[in-house]
Symmetry: C2
Subunit: 269 residues, 2 copies
């Protein structure tokens, strides 16, 4: 019944939102379009009323860090934090008062790798770190798996970065899950066996004190290493693998049916 003029007025009061498949809407605020916090607050309130009438449930607001002055208004309106990355904050709100929310959980785990690189002489690639609690012990190269990075790729990358060696992924030998490792988050640590493709070590200087090939028995026999039940178990697995008495998981490329997204499945083939 409204005139075009009225329709435009209504449009101006409502935040632009994208609908998702779960009855929710997402507002992607743009840093190029700065907004006064009072105006944002009014628009947000009007928008929620509108979305409520439309039967919407979850409301997501992705707020670039450049619009940090709008966080407070969203929180005052009942939004809470879902997650944040360096450049943005994701806020979320649940409209239906009668239904408990089904907002998916935030990422809960950090993922790391340890690389077991064995040469043809039965020697293992070991490093001494410059910083942290393990200085003085010869240990396997380790590192953090980046968001979007495959575990098998991360292991090869870390060895290259720390020691200059080119390697290829052979097998995943074991993994450890631990909790409260940083800021209350959990941690998964995967031991990957790699095959060296060259043998001359060029160590990285800023984090690595020293790097070398070491007889695996010498590595496994280090007293300090054996003080940790975990390190001892990992060393035992590495020795068993060297003696061909251990089978881990291989990495098989696979796809899922719906999206045909590529991923790896790790299993005993």
């Amino acid at each position: 019944m409204g005139s075009i003029g009225e329709a435009i007025d209504i449009n101006m009061e409502i935040l632009e939102a994208i609908e998702d498949n779960y009855g929710g809407v997402t507002v992607n605020m743009k840093k190029e379009e700065p907004m006064d916090s009072n105006k944002f607050h009014t628009m947000l309130r009007t928008s929620i009323s509108q979305w409520r009438l439309l039967g919407k449930k979850g409301v997501w607001i992705k707020l670039p860090i450049e619009l940090a002055h709008l966080v407070d208004a969203a929180v005052k309106e009942g939004f809470w934090y879902h997650h944040a990355e360096a450049t943005y904050l994701m806020l979320v709100y649940w409209i239906p008062r009668e239904i408990p929310h089904t907002i998916p959980a935030n990422a809960s785990h950090r993922v790391g790798i340890g690389a077991f690189v064995l040469n043809n002489d039965g020697q293992v690639l070991v490093v001494k770190e410059k910083w942290g609690k393990n200085t003085g012990t010869w240990k396997l190269p380790t590192g953090v798996v980046d968001e979007g990075e495959d575990i098998c790729t991360a292991a090869v990358r870390e060895v290259q970065e720390e020691t200059g060696l080119e390697t290829e992924f052979v097998e995943l030998l074991a993994f450890r899950q631990s909790h409260k490792s940083f800021f209350g988050k959990s941690d998964l640590f995967f031991i990957c066996m790699l095959k060296p493709l060259n043998f001359t070590i060029q160590k990285q200087d800023s984090e690595i004190e020293d790097a070398k090939w070491m007889a695996i028995e010498e590595y496994a026999g280090q007293p300090k290493l054996n003080q940790s039940e975990l390190s001892k178990t990992i060393a035992k697995i590495c020795v068993a693998k060297k003696e061909k008495q251990y089978t881990g998981f291989s990495a098989l490329p696979t796809t899922t049916g719906h999206s045909s997204k590529k991923s790896y499945i790790y299993s005993n083939i």
Copy 2:
């Protein structure tokens, strides 16, 4: 040289901070102590100058959601977002201009489980979900591993929640890593074999359409399941396990040497 009065003045200008082992400081802002954003901005600026003189590197501010009005001041001072949970936002800043920052990465992965529960008649526990893209297919019970929860515990919990069955963890059969699964985060999905301790199903109503025991060959033969390369591989592994032709990873409780924190290592024993 200053009097006590001057010392108190200085104290009032500096935010209370805890030192960490990496040359950084953490400010835990308290929701019970609200603060004007201008005052906070001034104190933050003064504090950073002070910490710079002391040679501090990383600065962390944990800001409860009740203090959302202080986010903007921290961002204006050069802080960026590290991570957020429902109740707080963690901001971070790096003081030394000449050294690249070594701030640890945020959690990057969500972790899920699929439960392979096999009874003595060679039947597998399957469910039909009410929502999502898999309605109509009989599938293994699945769920998300909570922050701080062990994978083996999460599998037992999810089966109990979805079907009422009590089970115990037997073996981890395989896992899949995929990327960009939600908000750009990565995803790890672990297939766990469980042994049922009772057999009468009482399905959960809000998410589960139906639950039953099904001959494993019938489960693995579903046409829709076989459209997904991943589901097909998992079903094959389950069939091989039923026929005792497959070995996965067992869960061994372990501790690390430094903190004696308990955790599980998953390996082929």
